[in-house]
Amino acid sequence: MISSSRNPIVRWDYVVDQSDSILAALWQHLELTLLSVLVGLAVSAPLAALALRHRWTTSAITGFTGFLYTLPSVALFALLVPAFGLSRVSTIIPLASYTLLILVTNIIAGFRSVPESVIDAANGMGLTPARRVLSVQLPLAMPSIITGIRIATVSTVGLLTVAAIIGQGGLGRLILDGLRRTFWTPMTVGAVLSILLALALDGLILWLGRAATPWTRKASP
């Protein structure tokens, strides 16, 4: 029963046969990952702006986002279910919370890494504060921000698999499904795909980041 010729680690005919639902799971996983990171960014940006503007708030903000990061995922999902049910909201809230620490940290670090002299020169040239932030400080902060997004995305892919326990995990559902039916193929497929998805997104964001920041590719003399 544990294993037989009908139940190896992977049964390829099953994979081909169920490719639609597998792709659907993959798609759901991707969608929820991106939504969580976007929500995370939307919340991180104002928090980072606050810390950058009023330096004394930095440790409180970092402490808070750090605290959120340590909350066990199973616990967070469990706490939200009574309130929001087995829904996307219950999934996205915890996952977005986990991204806050790295995103806030990296946004702040990125902006703080812009040399004083560049900001001074920009002011001296008569750039309005808005233009200066958007066309000078933000691009220069990008490498750090993109790294943060990369890390956040990759770890979200992993954490999202756990959301399968509340019916939302995309690829995680394949894993649980397989476990329930003691049928290994979906388990293997779900696990492997989630690892591959994480690596693929990591590479994609890395590549996009490099393309968007051409000046970082040049070596200094």
Binding site: M1, I2, S3, I9, T70, L71, P72, S73, V74, A75, L76, F77, A78, L79, V81, P82, I151, V154, S155, V157, G158, L159, T161, V162, A164, I165, I166, L171, G172, I175, L176, G178, L179, T182, W184, M187, T188, G190, A191, V192, S194, I195, A198, L199, D202
Partner: protein, 241 residues
């Protein structure tokens, strides 16, 4: 074929307070004490082995200035590895080999989670030890082994302990997935709560898990403080900015 022992279904109108204050909840079969022991034992073993593997390896490599590539690899590993997926992947492997649902899949998955913070912190710490101190020790005729133990490791203790703390908290916080992979532990109440559609179990289970994670962090924090030599602790606070 599942080893899972479900608690007797808890009536859905039980309030959280009623559930927590009922002695049966704690001492009965599948009770909180039992689950606590299961969780703590697994996590302790995982962290102990992670320390035993990561600290010597990282310290040795850092001392001899090797293994830079390993560090990069470790960083990628720690980010891209979805613990739940790894454990899930290992279940069929374990079952096919006749080893049952537990402990190998969750154990290996948690071990992979536990190693990177300890390894990275140890490596960085030993690497970063003031070269002046190392040089002085060598000049005084310390053998390489003594330099490593008495100088580098001593000064690196702060970071190493911090790494252990982070690792332990991560492991304890992730361990609950075990309950969804054929095991029990503190995660069982959330599992049962979802299965029985019982909010009390859900919330109660969540609070138990979160509390345990927080206590783990606090406990290791206290250990850090009491173990560190006074001079190193002062060094740490003066470096903190």
């Amino acid at each position: 074929m599942s080893r899972v022992t479900t608690q007797a279904a808890v009536p859905r109108d039980t309030t959280l307070w009623e559930w927590i204050s009922d002695p049966e909840t704690w001492t009965g079969q599948g009770g909180i004490w039992e689950s606590l022991v299961e969780t703590v034992v697994l996590c302790a073993v995982v962290v102990a082995i992670a320390i035993a593997v990561a600290v010597p390896l990282a310290a040795w490599l850092a001392h001899y200035r090797k293994g830079e590539l390993g560090v990069t690899w470790m960083v990628t590993l720690s980010r891209a590895v979805p613990t739940f997926a790894i454990a899930g992947l290992l279940v069929p492997v374990s079952l096919i080999n006749g080893w049952g649902f537990e402990p190998w899949p969750i154990f290996i998955a948690l071990l992979l989670l536990a190693i990177p913070p300890i390894y990275l912190n140890t490596y960085t710490a030993v690497r970063g030890v003031a070269p002046g101190a190392v040089d002085a020790a060598r000049a005084m005729g310390f053998s390489e082994r003594r330099v490593l133990f008495e100088v580098e490791l001593a000064l690196a203790t702060t970071l190493i302990f911090a790494g252990i703390r982070v690792s332990a908290v991560q492991v304890v916080a992730t361990e609950p997935i075990r309950a969804f992979l054929g095991g029990d532990g503190m995660g069982r109440y959330v599992r049962d709560g979802l299965g029985q559609n019982n909010d009390t179990l859900l919330v109660g289970g969540a609070i138990l898990i979160a509390t345990l994670a927080a206590l783990t962090g606090l406990a290791f924090g206290l250990i850090e403080r009491s173990v560190l030599p006074y001079g190193v602790r002062r060094l740490k606070t003066s470096q903190a900015s």
